[in-house]
Symmetry: C2
Subunit: 341 residues, 2 copies
DNA sequence: AACGTTACTGGAAACGTTTCCAATTTGTAT
DNA sequence: ATACAAATTGGAAACGTTTCCAGTAACGTT
């Protein structure tokens, strides 16, 4: 059974094609009675307009792309959910695309925009530190970089961004450990993949140490990837060095859990022997035992605001914006005040 | 700057439109020299064919839909990854669509197929227990139900499926607990949302008890949703009943972690005082402390085989298939052998 | 040189919409 | 009744492809 098209519906209703089109798109210039009649017929015959044809004809495709770095990242799951919600509220639809860790994000984004005739694109995570300004200028479609790695001196007029203050937040986390009396504080950061964000959080760590008069030692640092396993291994290396660490700061919750497991598996107690602080604020960290103290990122705000900014751009209501969201230190069970020996 | 189209490329190359089209689509009837020349021009001018136009013209759209129930389910993440990989290997592209828990899955699937002119669709999870056979017959597009809830007496000729033996696997898990000497074994199952699968796993639980001569008591049962929190609460209710449970079987790993947290938070020891077994085999269960014994589902196989079945159907090589995958009990730290008192 | 065969190539219709523009109907004020 | 404006409607072009069909070029065979 061949699917019906707009012509068939027009014939059945005894009206012109354009009238049916106007009904479908909620254009005003149709008599209420006619509109109702056509609506009923569309309903009755279960007619669904062909998306490809619509997109082909329209310059404004009603599609928003969401490019996500890494499907395994539970921190992004909530953000995506709120993004999708808001996008469909606006009558647009979401085209979700997952990038793996080796991809050239800006290139994939541009290709996606062209190929799918996107009206706008949100990049969640991803690395935009090596991009060429001309790439972004050529892309006339609004782009919002959300929680992404962005090079500092990029022309701010050609993209929007929404981020947290990674350095400040990390510093707050480590400062908290210092205030609890910790001095030997290890750190596990994400490496290459995540250059900029990892680096910023690492800088926050260093600043907090400095502020508290603690000397930074390179041996306290381990590099890991964004997986349980990688951080588990990194923690073991740290422990093997016998540095008498009393605390460790890990730059994501998933990794904090991997690290915590390594600690516990050796029979060490958290927080009695080692305190640990994570970063992100995913639910996993709360349900780990002991629950993990962490920096909570405002995930829902990330989603909502990203879409808001994008639609402001699409509707040409505003210029590109650069928003900084607040984080919050969630104190839980994984940190202990050090009593002076 | 307006994007180039196939006409522009044809003009630049000094050939006909159809020749360019043939190059794009790797059709054979083009002289190698011409092909190379056009390829270079396409590359140089960074031309990307318009997807909407292609889909509009083609009856075979090269799009495969993947409908996923619940974005938060980490068990699905791996499956999706392997699905995407295989689909793009075949030169098709994946349209990912997330359903929330209240959706009517078959209706959403059908709409998606029509709207996006999909060539096939894979449903990951989702509930197909209340569907009408006519809906599936009307849908002429191949459909594969993967790890989904399917009504038993559905006509097997009109859809493909790939599942595990939920009842058997659950029974194996509980039997393991029994063999360790446990008799008072609680159970937390998913409720309404997940009617069929939850019921099957529950039946497995009952069968294992029966086999081991243990009487089933309703008070050992709690219903939960697929979240940490819900299962955390359910476990607390179970504990509040003071049934002297020595073990608990939880029908998913996420929920097992929620339950384990409830146990540990009360100061009870796992596995010393209570043993726990989960279901799914997600990575997080391995990194929880103590690591959680669980039923491992073959996630990668789920993905790969789903795509294989789908392409067999698309290419009309085979009829609808119904595949059962094997599970495996992963013995870890969360279970203890009961020494007779 | 004439022919048949095969390898390429180009033109044009078609896919199902949206939208501009013109045409028709309706309503309102004189 | 008439004139004019406003509301509603229909026709046709256009969006960028693919593919059928017809046509040309190249080549070997007689």
């Amino acid at each position: 059974m061949k699917d019906l098209n707009i012509k068939d519906i027009a014939k059945i209703a005894g009206v012109g094609i354009s009238t049916v089109s106007r009904v479908i798109n909620n254009h005003p210039d149709v008599k209420d009675k006619t509109r109702e009649r056509i609506r009923k017929i569309i309903e009755e015959y279960n007619y669904i307009p062909n998306n490809s044809a619509r997109n082909l004809k329209r310059t404004d495709s009603k599609n928003i792309g969401v490019l996500v770095k890494g499907i395994f990242n539970p921190f992004f799951a909530k953000i995506i959910q709120s993004i999708e919600e808001k996008i469909s509220e606006e009558g647009y639809s979401t085209i979700l695309h997952y990038n793996d860790y080796n991809s050239n994000d800006i290139e994939v984004a541009i290709e996606l925009v062209k190929e799918k005739k996107l009206r706008g694109i949100i990049c969640l995570g991803g690395n935009f530190t090596n991009i060429d300004e001309s790439q972004l200028i050529d892309l006339e479609t609004p782009i919002v970089l959300s929680s992404a790695d962005i090079i500092q001196d990029l022309n701010k007029e050609i993209f929007s961004s929404i981020v947290i203050e990674n350095e400040k937040a990390a510093s707050e986390a480590v400062d908290y450990l210092c205030k609890l009396g910790h001095e030997k504080i290890g750190i596990i950061v994400t490496g290459q993949e995540d250059k900029c964000i990892g680096k910023l959080r690492f800088q926050g760590y260093k600043k907090a140490l400095e502020k508290n008069g603690i000397e930074y030692k390179e041996e306290f640092l381990e590099i890991g990837k964004y997986t349980f396993k990688s951080s588990f291994d990194a923690m073991n290396k740290l422990l093997d060095k016998e540095l008498n660490l009393t605390a460790v700061f890990v730059t994501s919750d998933i990794m904090a859990i991997g690290a915590a497991k390594a600690i516990l598996k050796r029979g060490l107690k958290i927080p009695d022997e080692i305190s640990i602080v994570g970063f992100d604020g995913i639910e996993y960290a709360e349900y780990f035992h002991p629950s993990i103290t962490t920096i909570k990122q405002p995930d829902e705000d990330f989603g909502k605001r990203s879409v808001e900014i994008l639609f402001d751009l699409i509707k040409r209501k505003k210029e590109h914006q650069h928003i900084i969201l607040e984080t919050q230190l969630l104190k839980r069970e994984s940190c202990k005040k050090l009593t002076s020996k």
